[in-house]
Symmetry: C2
Subunit: 217 residues, 2 copies
C-alpha cells in the first residue's frame, strides 16, 4: 500500500463533526421544503449515512433534529447582526440587513414555514428559539444606538420595526422575491428612520436619537 | 297553573342558540386564559350545562370548540373593520383602530396566545383563520384608499402595516397596556402615514395616494 490521503468516505468523523454534518444536511432540506415534507430517510440520504445513524445522533427523531437545525439556523441568523460599531448608524443597519436578507433568500421555504406557523413540528420550544432571535436583534439595535435604558416608546418602535422586517421578508418571498433585494433593504432602512421620526414627535429619548441619526448622515 | 314567562333555566334553546351560548362561554374563557389551561369541564361550567352536552355540540372536543370560537372571534374582529366610506381617510382608520384595540383589550390573553403561536391547539387551520383576518384587513384598507389594482409596493406597505398593528398590540399587552390606548391608536395612524410616505418616494401609485391623504386632512 502506498500512503495517500484517506478518501472522505473512509474518514472517521468526530461526534461533533458528524452531528454538524447531519445538521447541515437537515438545514439544507428544511431550507427549501416544509418540515412536514421531510423524513429522516431524506436526511440520511442527503448526508450519505444510514437511517440508524441519524437516530443514534437524534434519538428524539424528526422533532429533535428539527429543533437542533432551527437552533443552528438561529445562531447563523444572529451572526448576521454582528456589525462593527463604527460608521453611520443607518449604514450599519443596511449592512446587517444585507446579511439577513441573504439568509432569507437562501432558506426561503423553510424560513417562511417557520415564521408563518402552523407547522406540525412547531412547539413552544421552537417559538422560544424564534423569539430569542427577535430579542437579540432588538438588543443589537439598541446597543448600536447606544441606549442603555430604552423607554417604552423606543422599545416599542424597535420591536415593531423588527416585525416589519420579518413581515416584509415573508411578503417578499410570497411576491417571488420582488422588489430586488437592495431595494427592499433601502426601503426597510427608510422605514426605520421614518418610524423613529414618528415616535420622536412624542418621546424625548427617541427625539435625541433621531437627531443623532440625522447628524450622522 | 297561571301563565308566566318561562324562567331562563327552563327555556329550551334552539340548536343555533345553544351553539352560540357555548361559543360565548368558550370565547370568554379563551379570552383570558391560554387554550392549554381550559378544559371542556370549564366550558360546561361557564355555560351552566353538562359536559356531555358540550360534546354533543362539539364532538371533536376542545380542538373543534377552539376552532369554532376562533372563527367567531375572527368574525367579530372583521366587524371592527366596517367603517362608512366617508370623511377623511386617516380618521376612518383611527375609528377602525379604536374598535380593534378595544377587542384586543377585552381578549388580551387569548389574543396574545393565538398570535404568538406555540399553542398546542394551533394547527394550519387556526393559522388560516388568522391569515383570513389579515387579508380582510388589507382588503378593507385598499378599498377605502380606492385602489382597484394595488401594485407590489403598495401591497407590501399595507400588509406590513397590518403586522405593525398586530405586533404593537402584542407589545402593548406585554407592557401592561401602556401607552394609553388613544396614544397607541394615534401612533399607529401616524406610522401608517409615514410608511406610505417612504413608499411614495419610490412608487407613483403610492405617491398619488399619499398626496390624497395629505389633501384630505
Amino acid at each position: 500500500m502506498t500512503p495517500s490521503a484517506p478518501t472522505p468516505a473512509y474518514r472517521r468523523l468526530s461526534v461533533e463533526e458528524r452531528r454538524s454534518q447531519l445538521l447541515d444536511a437537515a438545514l439544507g432540506l428544511f431550507a427549501h421544503r416544509t418540515p412536514e415534507d421531510i423524513s429522516l430517510d431524506d436526511v440520511a440520504e442527503a448526508a450519505g449515512v444510514s437511517r440508524p445513524l441519524v437516530y443514534r445522533y437524534f434519538p428524539g427523531g424528526k422533532q429533535q433534529l428539527y429543533e437542533a437545525a432551527l437552533r443552528s439556523a438561529a445562531e447563523e441568523l444572529q451572526n448576521c447582526f454582528d456589525e462593527p460599531r463604527d460608521g453611520p448608524l443607518l449604514a450599519r443597519l443596511a449592512r446587517a440587513l444585507d446579511r439577513y436578507l441573504t439568509f432569507v433568500d437562501q432558506h426561503d421555504t423553510g424560513f417562511s414555514a417557520l415564521l408563518q406557523g402552523g407547522s406540525v413540528v412547531e412547539t413552544s420550544r421552537t417559538t422560544a428559539i424564534v423569539d430569542g432571535v427577535r430579542r437579540a436583534a432588538a438588543e443589537h439595535i439598541l446597543s448600536h444606538l447606544d441606549v442603555a435604558d430604552p423607554g417604552l416608546h423606543l422599545r416599542m418602535t424597535v420591536r415593531v420595526w423588527i416585525t416589519t422586517v420579518e413581515a416584509a421578508s415573508l411578503i417578499w418571498l410570497d411576491e417571488g422575491k420582488q422588489p430586488p433585494m437592495p431595494d427592499l433593504r433601502d426601503w426597510l432602512v427608510d422605514q426605520f428612520a421614518a418610524a423613529l421620526a414618528v415616535t420622536a414627535a412624542r418621546d424625548s429619548q427617541t427625539a435625541a436619537l433621531a437627531q443623532k441619526l440625522a447628524d450622522d448622515l
